[in-house]
Every structure is written in structure tokens, then in C-alpha cells.
Amino acid sequence: MGSIENLVTQIQGLSGSIDDIAHLHNILKVADESLHAEPSALSSVLDQVDPAKHSLGYLYFLEAFTSGPVSKEQALTLIPILARFINCCDAQQIRFAPDKFVSVCKRFKDHVLLIESPLRGVSPMRAAVRKLQTTSEHLTTLHPDFLLLCLLSKSYNIGLSVLEDDIFDVDQPRDLFLYCYYGGMICIGQKRFRKALELLHNVVTAPMNAINAIAVEAYKKYILVSLIHYGQFSTSLPKYASSAAQRNLKNFCQPYIELATTYSSGKIAEFKIYVDTNREKYDNDKNLGLVKQVVSSMYKHNIQRLTQTYLTLSLQDIANTVQLGSPKEAEMHVLQMIQDGEIFATINQKDGMVRFLEDPEQYKTCQMIEHIDSSIQRIMTLSRKLNAMDELMSYDPLYLSKVRTCFEILRQVTVVSEGFVSSGWEGATEIRL
């Protein structure tokens, strides 16, 4: 007890400047063992320490306090304490002990899930993510947990706001996979298929030595979203995808690849039959909703193709070409597409005709100019970043030594080949490199 009292006074004293906090950190590290020995004694101490000013100390106490299994009732009491801490802790102090912070947050997430109200955890986790990040491009271990809570509580918008940031620095590759996978699912939920494709593509083509389950699941969704958004899917992965992925991914996703080939044949009836026969498999992967969206997207793509060849077309003809049941269904589909902004058309109900119009975008408005301008700025920043990275790498000693070895080999080969030329073939000696 006495040592804890000591610690408390030290914490209260040394939570001023950065040097003090560093000193405090060392003390805390040493005292960590003893803290873990008596977790129950800490509950009273917690009130004495202010989470906002003495964040580091509070963190150590809290971490020791919450270690060990908890029941539902205990979780209920703990959650407000943890939430309060996360919301008002000082980011600078936290960063001294990031892994402690991470484990506290993870436990918070577990408690929230235990009492089955993920919504309570969303806002604190968001704050936690922001505090742990060093820059907005940094991916922490907490990102995937945060996204998981968003998914479970269906608060997609908050998830999206975090997803808008570009990610470049990664702590752990596994975090990236989970982050992109959950992020992809959130985007699918909000029907932002382009962003979903981007995220899922990152998972599938990330460098990995061996296939992992996250990549497999991501690939399945990738196939489906690609069909919905583009209407086509190419089974060949780009060259930069890891060889493990290129060899093995397809084997795990057979039903989906066959789905894609049936889709590309364009026959809706056959496609529907195929979907029905494999319903269970898709259901087991929880992709059935997505598959249904693929079916409806087939109609959309067929109608879009019609806009390229026809100026006006009767609803009956649309129904026949796209293999819908009746002109009424065709009308509904076209109406839906016009409302979603996917095609530009007018329906003449008197004649039962649809008139397809050109895209009215003239690229002359102020908003368009602003949009183009901001895109240019964005891309310039990106290329600056790329250049900076290239420069950095060219100073790297490992790279330089490798380049030197290559030059050496090249030089030796030229010398020897000159030897061949001057002394003739008969006098050539072996090349030794």
C-alpha cells in the first residue's frame, strides 16, 4: 500500500514537463510488476489521480486494474471509467506507453462487446484512434477495432469519416488487412463501391508470404463488388500481387469465380439458376445480400449498354433485350436508374418510349473548376511524396551497397569481354566472378 501511495505522489508531482514525464515513465515501468500483483487495491487510488493531467500514471493503474477476466456486471461498471479516461486523456503522455494504451482500449472494446452494445464504444474508440496516431497517415492497431465496432453498431458514417484519411505508415501488416477488410465492408454498406474496391484491392495485392483468411474473404467480396460496380471481373491479379496470392487465392474462391464467368456470359436466367444452386455457400460466407445486388446490377449494366446504341427505345424492347418480365418492370428499373443518376433519360408514358439523353455535364461550372483544381493540388502533393520517398531510398546504405555490387559485376564482365575481343576466342580464359 505504501508503495502505491508513493507512486501517487510521484505521479502528481512529475506530470508537468516532458522530462518529468519521461522520468515518471521509467519509475512506472519499474513499479509495473507490483501494480499487477494487487489489482483490486487500485480502485480507490484511481479517484486520487486525475486522468486528464496525470494520464500516464492513470494509464498504468488502469491497465493493472483491468487485467484479468471480467463478468458482465463488472464490465458495466468499468465501461464508463474507461470511456471517460479515453476521452480526456492527454495524447502526449499516452504516447510514452502506446502498447499499454492499446491493451486498455482493446479491453474496453471487449467489454463493450460483452454487454452487446457496440454503439457505446464507437465514440470513445474514435477518440482513442485520433490520440494514438502520430500523423493522420498512421495506421494504429486500434483502427480495425474501431471499424469493427462501427460495423457491429451500423454507424457507418463515423467509420467513413476515418476511412477518408489516406494511410501510409503501418504498425503491423495484420492491422492493415483487417482495417481494409472492415473498411471495405463499411463502404459496401454505404454503397460507395469505388472506395470499397480500392480497400479490398489493397488487401488482395498486399505483400504476404502466405495466404491468410482475411485475404481470402476479401477476395470473395472483391469479386462481387467488382461485378456490381464495373460489370466485369478479370481473374488475373496484377503483377505486384504476391506470388502466394496469385497461386492460391483462386483455389479458395471457386464458386465466386464461376459466378463471375456466368455473369460475363450475359444470360440472366442462367445466372439466376447458378445463384440459386449455390445459395448455401454464399449464405455461409454471409455474402448472400451482396450476391443479390450483383443480380440486380446485371440489369443495370445491360440497360446502360443500350444507352450507347439507341436514342429512343420502347419499354417493350428494353424488357426483351434485358430479359425482364414486362414493360412495367423495365419502367421501374429505368426510373430507379434515372433517380440514382446512373443514366440520363426521359420516359414517355403515352408512347411507352424511353428517350436517352447525353450527359448534361458541360464541365463549365465553378464547382467543376474547383474540383479539377483540388484534384491537381492533390496529385502534386502525392508526386512530391513519391519523389521524397525515392530520394530517401537512394541515400539508404543497403541500397547503395547493392548498387555497388551490381556495378562491380558489370565492370568485370566488360573487362573480360574486352579480353575476349583482343585475345581472340582461342585465348579466352574462364570468367571468374
Binding site: F168, V170, E198, Y240, Q308, D359
Partner: protein, 440 residues
């Protein structure tokens, strides 16, 4: 002269005057006259092909078939190929009477003679080889090649001819070797060899006489035709000089040059090339005289009388399907010609009434709409169909908008790709650092 503001139908016109009966025409093939164009092996091959094609039991075709088989029998009997003889007799199956039965005695005599000749040739060749007289060895192999060819062993014939290459001294020898090799390769259907030997013969240092040049062009054209390179085939056939006459009857007749050349040109040339190389080509005109229907149909196409052009094509089709080299290309060539006609029709107009167009092409509006839809989707015609009023409107893409759209799209793709690239680079760096730290 039609008054200016009346839209007038494209594709009408008076009927052409009737002409004398040509050989490749719209009417039923006269097997005898057709076969008289050729000689040797190709005659037999073509007759057998016709017989196979006519093998579906319809009455007029049955008569054709029997005629073809009869002539084949006669022709084979003049030669020494017992294998082919047996085949023909099987096909005839005794339906042509006693005179066309299996003549076993003839077969035996021919075979025995062949054996003796073979022995004799072998002995001669061996003696020449020991004497190392180049010219005799070459003649020996040549004779061997001829022998095998006459007896239908095409692979052996080819090998023998090719062996003479080492013993050729003058360019004349080389050319004769090439011509023999080409002949056998065409019979075997190995057109890659044909192309290589044609180029070999053309590279000979001496000037070739015009007949050989014409023969080589025909052979090259045939090779391109078989490999579906219709444009090159057309060019080769069109360059064939009229000296060819009937000198290459063992492979191809002058009528064939005209037909193949004309159809391939029509399917693959654009208007300027068609005019320069076909219609204004004096040399080729001689060939076209032999097949006036092809000449008429090319002229009709050029002057936009599509209905009559397509009618001629339709008439020619059954006979062309009986041609040994052209039969599997007929469909493709016809489709290409039809598509070209459709595209050419719509090209000069801003709007086209589909009903008139259907009339000009003698098809229904619905069918025409389907064909046009396929061509538009393929981007061969830049237009859009007003299905309600049945009008085709030409549509010219707005360059400015298209450029803006492309720019924005490229920008966002670049953005996305660079970002994922940087991410991947960071991942690899992390992995590398991890491994490095583990090693330490």
C-alpha cells in the same frame, strides 16, 4: 435524273443483260466443265471434295455427286495412286454400274510396277551417291519425289524434294525444287511451308520468268487465304499476271484467282484501295472477264447497288461452298462484305430512314436494327438508333467533354495507384526491417 429534294432509294436500277453461261456462276455447277479446268491430283481432290459435300441425299445433288465420283474414277485410273482408287470405289459403292467396279487386277499391276520402279530408283540413287555426282543425285531424289507424289505418299514426296536442296547448283534447280515443294505442301495443307518456299524462290538471284512469278504469287495468295489473312491474300492474287493462263492447273485455275482475289479484296479493302487495285487494275480485268458475276458484284458494291451485289453473292454461295480452298472462309468473307456494305451505306448521311435501308438490303427492319446494333456496339458505326421513328442518327462524340472526362478519370486512377504503391512499399520496408532486426 431524279429531282433534288426527293429522297431516292439506293439499290434500284435496271437488270443487267443476260450473258453466256460461265463456269463459276450462280447456276448449278457443271462438274465436267469445272473439272476440265484442272489436271492431276488437284482435279481428283476437288472432285472428291465435291462428292463429299454433296453427300446429303437431295436429288439434284445426288446426281452431281455421282458425276463427280465418275470423273474422279476415270482420272485416277490414268494415274498410279491405288490408295485413292480404293477410296473412290468405296464411295461409288457399285452405284454407277459394272464399268466402275473395283478393278483388283489393275491395282495389283500398278502396285507391282510401283515396287519394281521403287527398287530401280533406289539402286540408281545409291549408285549416284557412291559416285558423288551432284547433278545425278539431285535428279535421283527428284525422281523419287515424283514417284512418291504419283502414288500419294505426300510426306515422302516432300522429304525427297527437300533433300534435293543440298545438291542444287543453279538457281533454276532451286526454283524447281521450290515449286515442287510448294505443290506438295498445298496438297498436304501445310501452308507455312508454302510461304517459306515462296519467299525462298523469290529470293533467287536470277530473274524469274513471268509464268513462275505468277505461279508463286498464286501460291502465296493461297497460303494467306488459308491463314485467314484476307487482305494479304487479296493483294497477292491481284498482283498475279495474266500470263498465268492455265499453266498452274495442277493447283489453281484462272477463274479461282479471280474469285478468291475479288472476294477477299471486297471483304478487306477500303474504297480507295478497291478502286485502285481492283477496278482500275488492267491485269486483273483479264481474270475478271472469266467470272463476270464477280466483276458485276464488285462494281455494284462500289457504286452502292447493295441489293444486287448481295443477290449475286447469294447466288454464288452454293458453288463456292464446293470449292476446296474457299469453303470454310465463305461465311466469314460474306459477313465481312455485308458489314462493309452496311457501314458504307450509313457513312455519308446524318440521318438514315431504316425502312428505306431495309428495302435496299432486302431485309426486315427488325433484322436490320439488330445488325446495326451489333455494328454500333462494335464501334464500327458512330450513330444511334431512334427506335420509335426508326431512324438512324449519326453521332459525333463531343471531344471537349470526352477529354475532360478522360482527364478526371486518369487523375483519379493515378491517385489511387500511387497511394496503394506507397502503402505497399511501406509494408515491404516494414517486413524488411522486421527481418533485419530478427537477424540481429
Amino acid at each position: 435524273m431524279e429531282p433534288e429534294d426527293e429522297i431516292y432509294e439506293n439499290g434500284g436500277g435496271e437488270q443487267p443483260p443476260p450473258r453466256s453461261k460461265p463456269i463459276i456462276s450462280g447456276e448449278q455447277l457443271d462438274v465436267e466443265t469445272y473439272a476440265s479446268l484442272y489436271r492431276d491430283r488437284t482435279k481428283v481432290a476437288r472432285l472428291l471434295f465435291i462428292a463429299d459435300r454433296c453427300d446429303n441425299g437431295a436429288m439434284p445433288l445426288e446426281a452431281l455427286r455421282m458425276e463427280a465420283l465418275r470423273m474422279a474414277y476415270d482420272e485416277i485410273k490414268k494415274g498410279e495412286n491405288t490408295q485413292l482408287f480404293r477410296e473412290v470405289v468405296n464411295k461409288i459403292g457399285g452405284m454407277l454400274g459394272d464399268k466402275y467396279e473395283m478393278d483388283a487386277a489393275w491395282c495389283e499391276t500398278v502396285d507391282r510396277r510401283a515396287e519394281q520402279k521403287k527398287e530401280k530408283l533406289e539402286n540408281e540413287l545409291n549408285s549416284y551417291r557412291t559416285n558423288l555426282i551432284k547433278e545425278s543425285i539431285r535428279m535421283g531424289y527428284n525422281d523419287f519425289g515424283d514417284f512418291h507424289y504419283a502414288h500419294g505418299a505426300l510426306g515422302d514426296a516432300f522429304k525427297s524434294y527437300v533433300r534435293t536442296r543440298d545438291y542444287c547448283t543453279t538457281s533454276k534447280h532451286i526454283i524447281s525444287m521450290c515449286m515442287n515443294a510448294i505443290l506438295v505442301s498445298i496438297e498436304m495443307g501445310q501452308f507455312t511451308h508454302v510461304t517459306s518456299y515462296v519467299s525462298k524462290a523469290e529470293q533467287s538471284p536470277d530473274a524469274l520468268d513471268p509464268i513462275t512469278v505468277a505461279k508463286l504469287r498464286c501460291a502465296a495468295g493461297l497460303a494467306h487465304l488459308e491463314t485467314k489473312k484476307y487482305k494479304l491474300a487479296a493483294r497477292k492474287f491481284l498482283e498475279t499476271g495474266p500470263e498465268l493462263g492455265s499453266h498452274y492447273n495442277e493447283v489453281i485455275a484462272a477463274q479461282d484467282v479471280a474469285t478468291y482475289g475479288g472476294l477477299c479484296a471486297l471483304a478487306s479493302f477500303d474504297r480507295t484501295e478497291l478502286k485502285n487495285k481492283v477496278i482500275d487494275n488492267l491485269n486483273f480485268r483479264n481474270f475478271l472477264e472469266l467470272v463476270p458475276e464477280v466483276r458485276e458484284l464488285i462494281n455494284d458494291f462500289y457504286s452502292s447497288h447493295y441489293a444486287s451485289c448481295l443477290e449475286y453473292l447469294g447466288n454464288l454461295k452454293p458453288n463456292l461452298l464446293l470449292d476446296i480452298h474457299l469453303h470454310d472462309h465463305v461465311e466469314t468473307l460474306y459477313d465481312q462484305i455485308r458489314h462493309k456494305a452496311l457501314i458504307q451505306y450509313t457513312h455519308p448521311f446524318v440521318s438514315v430512314d431504316l425502312r428505306m435501308m431495309a428495302n435496299a438490303f432486302k431485309t426486315s427492319v427488325a433484322g436490320l436494327e439488330k445488325e446495326l446494333e451489333a455494328l454500333i456496339t462494335d464501334n464500327q458505326i458512330q450513330a444511334r438508333i431512334d427506335s420509335h421513328n426508326k431512324i438512324l442518327y449519326a453521332r459525333h462524340a463531343d471531344q471537349r467533354n470526352a477529354t475532360f472526362q478522360r482527364v478526371l478519370q486518369t487523375g483519379s486512377e493515378f491517385d489511387r495507384d500511387v497511394r496503394s504503391m506507397l502503402l505497399r512499399a511501406n509494408l515491404i520496408k516494414y517486413d524488411h526491417n522486421l527481418r533485419a532486426s530478427r537477424k540481429l
